[in-house]
């Protein structure tokens, strides 16, 4: 009897201890906030940006007597954010690419941000356009990125004016055994719509038409139209059955490594490739991606990284304050640039870092005629079928038949 009673008492004691432990993690935070006079701001970002944001977030917290927590979400940030928001356990602010906006808006996960006219004018115009969706500004941009042609100046001193020039120079290097590939433009077995896009636009193709107010129009799909077939006929000529400049064996994993291994003289990639090129001690230069001779301009996608205010955050007023009035300062943009060298969207910040990093201006030049990556939800239907059609055509499939089928698949998936 005694042991039985003792057992029950011990069980309950342990139960209380266990539940005490469970609550322990929440309690200090709950106690801290009243000390910090109430507010708490939770920011979600990926690993790299979390590290860059932390000091600034802490400073914002100290200056204003609030607690700021930056949490790293290393995988599937967008999906996790939408799911967590729905359950009411999401953050107040989230950092991510601008092409998430369409999906975040249709799930009611973010709120518009109201910037004053003078605040807006401090940003690169394209960046502001990228975060504008249905006539509303949904995020505050801080960095921009786009593709450019990076070339090994030892092998290819001159920037090619057209893709034909590039292929001729690349073929010559190959014949001289100085390189094994003409061009490193990643495709893989299932294609890569983002990287082929400059050539697609130069060939005359487009993804979505635009409405009167300049937004992308999901009803006007360019894939499968005669222009897109013409563009892919030109791309097919560069493919495995043609010049051999575009190959499915060049993938996201090996394209930069092949370039830094000096096996190809030309690489189509973005600012993220520069770190590797520097590490490999390659003498490189950056120029716009060339288009087809006599074709249109090659327009790369312009992507923007931005801060968003969560619609279901617990502290929306503070989140608005942080995003609209603090992220718009150049100091933060410069710090984020130092964490990862992508051109800042804030003109003042770009001017500040441009002097020490000549690559930035060249990337910006390459993206000057770029097109904003569509943020409409319909864009999600493009990537997979478009990429696969591209891979098939590079492999030698009939462009007209393949692109028509891809267009049909895409339009069938657009709601």
């Amino acid at each position: 009897m005694r042991i039985r009673t003792a057992g029950v008492v011990a069980a309950f004691a342990l139960a209380l201890a266990a539940s005490g432990c469970g609550g322990g993690s929440d309690e200090p935070a709950a106690k801290e906030s009243p000390n910090a006079a109430g507010g708490k701001l939770v920011i979600w970002a990926d690993d790299k940006r979390t590290a860059a944001l932390k000091p600034f977030a802490e400073k914002f917290g100290q200056d204003n007597g609030v607690t700021v927590e930056v949490q790293a979400v290393s995988k599937d940030l967008q999906t996790n954010f939408v799911t967590a928001s729905q359950q009411g356990s999401g953050p107040d602010v989230v950092v991510g690419a601008h092409d998430w906006i369409g999906n975040l808006v249709q799930n009611g996960a973010i709120d518009p941000v109201q910037l004053a006219a003078e605040q807006k004018s401090a940003f690169n115009e394209t960046a502001i356009k990228a975060v504008t969706f249905n006539g509303q500004l949904y995020g505050v941009p801080y960095a921009m990125e786009n593709l450019a042609l990076i070339r090994n100046t030892e092998l290819a001193p001159e920037a090619p004016k057209t893709i034909e020039d590039l292929v001729a120079a690349g073929k010559k290097l190959k014949a001289e055994k100085k390189a094994s590939e003409i061009l490193c433009l990643q495709s893989g077995q299932n294609g890569d719509a983002y990287h082929i896009y400059p050539l697609y636009t130069s060939g005359g193709g487009y993804l979505f038409g635009t409405t009167a107010n300049g937004d992308y129009d999901p009803k006007d799909l360019g894939v499968g139209k005669p222009e897109s077939i013409e563009a892919f006929k030109k791309i097919a000529a560069l493919g495995e059955k043609g010049e051999g400049a575009l190959k499915r064996s060049i993938t996201a994993e090996n394209s930069i490594a092949t370039f830094t291994g000096k096996k190809c003289a030309y690489l189509v990639s973005g600012p993220w490739a520069i770190a590797d090129a520097k590490k490999a001690n390659i003498s490189y230069d950056i120029s716009p991606v060339p288009g087809f001779a006599g074709g249109k301009e090659a327009q790369p996608f312009v992507g923007v990284q931005a801060f968003y205010v969560a619609a279901k955050g617990k502290n929306k007023a503070l989140a608005q304050e942080f995003v609209a009035n603090y992220v718009t300062t150049p100091e933060l943009a410069v710090a984020l640039y130092n964490a990862e060298p992508r051109p800042p969207a804030l003109t003042a910040a770009l001017d500040q870092v441009k002097g020490s990093d000549p690559d930035l201006a060249k990337f910006q030049e390459a993206g000057k005629n770029g097109q904003v990556l569509p943020a409409i939800p319909a864009m999600a239907t493009i990537w997979d079928p478009f990429g696969k059609a591209q891979a098939a055509i590079i492999g030698g499939a009939d462009p007209a038949k393949t692109i028509t089928a891809a267009g049909k698949t895409i339009s069938g998936q657009i709601k």
Partner: protein, 546 residues
């Protein structure tokens, strides 16, 4: 009721404390049936029950907070049931069965039921929340700055207590410098003598008002976001804590017509409860929808949509071939090696065993990616090593062969391990007896060893089949389902049903969890039927050989 602390061989014998009848009839009757209570056993029991109670209490707080009374009742009943079960001396079989059953319910039954219930909804991107949430999202998203209006420096203030008092906005007109106070009634100008304005235009002090600092204001975030000061052109709203703008909600919900109306263009979007969206007369839909029950529509779509049902049969056939090929191939190779190493004449078996288990010890995620790169046409190890130029993932049959080869490499160590174990359980006398009877080694293997091996391994083979039938990673991380026919980017030559439906449900415009759940149920049915049939056959086999 008294207890004996004596465990077998325990030094702490307590003589003279044998169970004595204490008035409860069952103690004396069942004393023989009770295992003696040991100190360790008691401690384990106390810790486990304590943890159970701890977890229950920890889980109860959020449930109470969210007012989920049904969940709380389930939690309380389960916990009380567990305590009763392990504190009573009765229900011995249940003590063994209940933990497993609970885990079965939590990790198998509930997810299956949840999937099944999702299959009858349109749950997915754009249809995640309730209709009310959609309406709020539409209205918030339509608040636009009034054209030509200015932004005002803002201070949040109150006439009462900073933590609870009703809030007002103190705004400064940037042109005139006039300070106004705004609340739900509207704006009133304040006497310039009563206020102190900082250089930026922000009000720092005002007679009769307490200005909230950022900390105080941010703890009242919700009140600030909800405070709307009506003006002639629209309403003043806060943009953060230091600026206010004049904005107007262009779209609003009208309960009368159950529709959303745009006050600028006059367009209306009527609620469609069938699809869970606001739809205009011309078919245009608002992006923000809500979750509705769609009945059997997801299932009907799987069966009737030619884009889904068309490639379904071909994919199913390959899916079976892949699962059978992977399971059969790994089993044959694993068993062959196990047999070879089982031979008494074999030397250095331990070294071989270690080497053979290596592929099993490496994370399959990483290995799949490595294999994918090894099959690369120009840069891959396989083509470079053998001087080939095969476009492995570019042709249907070479890609299929490649993924099965990868599965063979990844899977045979497991089969080798279990076959080794099963072989050691077969008495050598049996095979020796057949040899004495004059059977050839092949006959002996075919008629004695293999059937006995299969009795032991059949359940594992069925499990392996079911696993490979849905082996998403094996395809998604290598070929991604490709190569794809030029005219159909949705179904590739190496696609399994699971990778194919993943593309359908998540590759289109946002995730469609409802459709994905419906297809999962189809796959679940197929695997369940195949497994049930196989297990039935195995049972017959066991009856023959045991």
């Amino acid at each position: 009721m008294s207890t004996s602390l004596s465990g077998p061989g325990s030094a702490k014998q307590a003589p003279g404390r044998e169970p004595v009848g204490s008035g409860l009839p069952r103690t004396s009757r069942t004393a023989r049936n009770h295992a003696p209570i040991t100190a360790t056993g008691l401690l384990v029991k106390v810790i486990l029950l304590g943890l159970t109670a701890g977890i229950a209490i920890w889980a109860a707080f959020p449930l109470v907070e969210a007012e989920r009374w049904i969940g709380l009742a389930v939690l309380a009943a389960t916990t009380a049931g567990l305590f009763y079960l392990y504190l009573t001396r009765r229900h011995i079989p249940a003590k063994y069965l209940v933990p497993g059953t609970l885990f079965l319910i939590a990790f198998q039954v509930v997810p299956v039921l949840y999937t099944a219930s999702t299959a009858f909804t349109n749950f997915g991107d754009g249809h995640r929340g309730s209709k009310d949430e959609a309406i709020v999202a539409i209205q918030t998203a339509s608040v636009k700055q009034v054209p030509g209006s200015t932004q005002y420096p803002l201070s949040v203030a109150t006439q009462g207590d900073p933590a609870t008092g009703p809030l007002v906005f103190l705004v400064t007109d940037p042109q005139t410098g006039a300070v106004s106070v705004g609340d739900a009634q509207g704006l009133r100008q304040l006497d310039p003598g009563d206020v102190t304005v900082a250089p930026g235009g922000k009000v720092t002090a005002a007679d009769g008002y307490t200005i909230l600092n950022f900390g105080q204001a941010s703890s009242r975030s919700k009140d600030i976001t909800e405070l709307v000061v009506p003006t002639s052109g629209g309403a003043l709203r806060s943009s953060g804590l230091s600026r206010a703008y004049e904005g107007k909600a262009v779209r609003g919900y009208d309960a009368g017509c159950d529709c959303v109306r745009d006050s600028e263009t006059g367009r209306t979007w009527t609620a469609d409860e069938e699809t869970g969206a606001f739809v205009a007369a011309d078919g245009e839909r608002l992006a923000q929808g809500w979750k509705v029950d769609v009945g059997l529509r997801n299932f009907a779509r799987v069966l009737t949509d030619p884009a889904i049902s068309g490639p379904f049969f071909g994919t199913l056939v390959w899916n079976f071939a892949f699962a059978i090929g992977s399971t059969g191939g790994t089993f044959l190779l694993g068993m062959f090696i196990a047999l070879a190493l089982h031979s008494p004449r074999m030397r250095g078996t331990n070294l071989y065993r270690i080497l053979l288990i290596l592929p099993y010890a490496m994370p399959s995620f990483a290995m799949l990616l490595v294999w994918r790169d090894m099959f690369n046409t120009d840069f891959g190890l396989i083509n470079n090593l053998f001087g080939l130029g095969v476009d492995w993932f570019g042709h249907d049959w070479s890609a299929r062969l490649a993924v099965i080869l990868v599965q063979l490499w990844l899977g045979y160590p497991y089969m080798f391990l279990v076959a080794t174990g099963a072989l050691q359980a077969i008495p050598r006398e049996l095979t020796e007896a057949t040899l004495v009877d004059g059977a050839s080694p092949w006959q002996s293997f075919r008629t004695v060893t293999l059937p006995l091996l299969l009795v032991a391994l059949s359940p594992l083979l069925i499990a392996s089949f079911a696993y490979n039938f849905n082996n998403f990673n094996a395809i998604h991380l290598t070929t991604e389902g490709g190569p794809f026919p030029a005219d159909n980017p949705t179904a590739g030559a190496t696609d399994l049903l699971i990778t194919y439906t993943y593309r359908l449900a998540f590759g289109a415009q946002g995730a469609q969890f409802g459709l994905a759940a419906a297809v999962s149920l189809f796959i679940f049915t197929i695997v369940a039927v195949v497994s049930a049939v196989s297990f039935r056959r195995t049972r017959k086999q066991e009856e023959v050989y045991s």
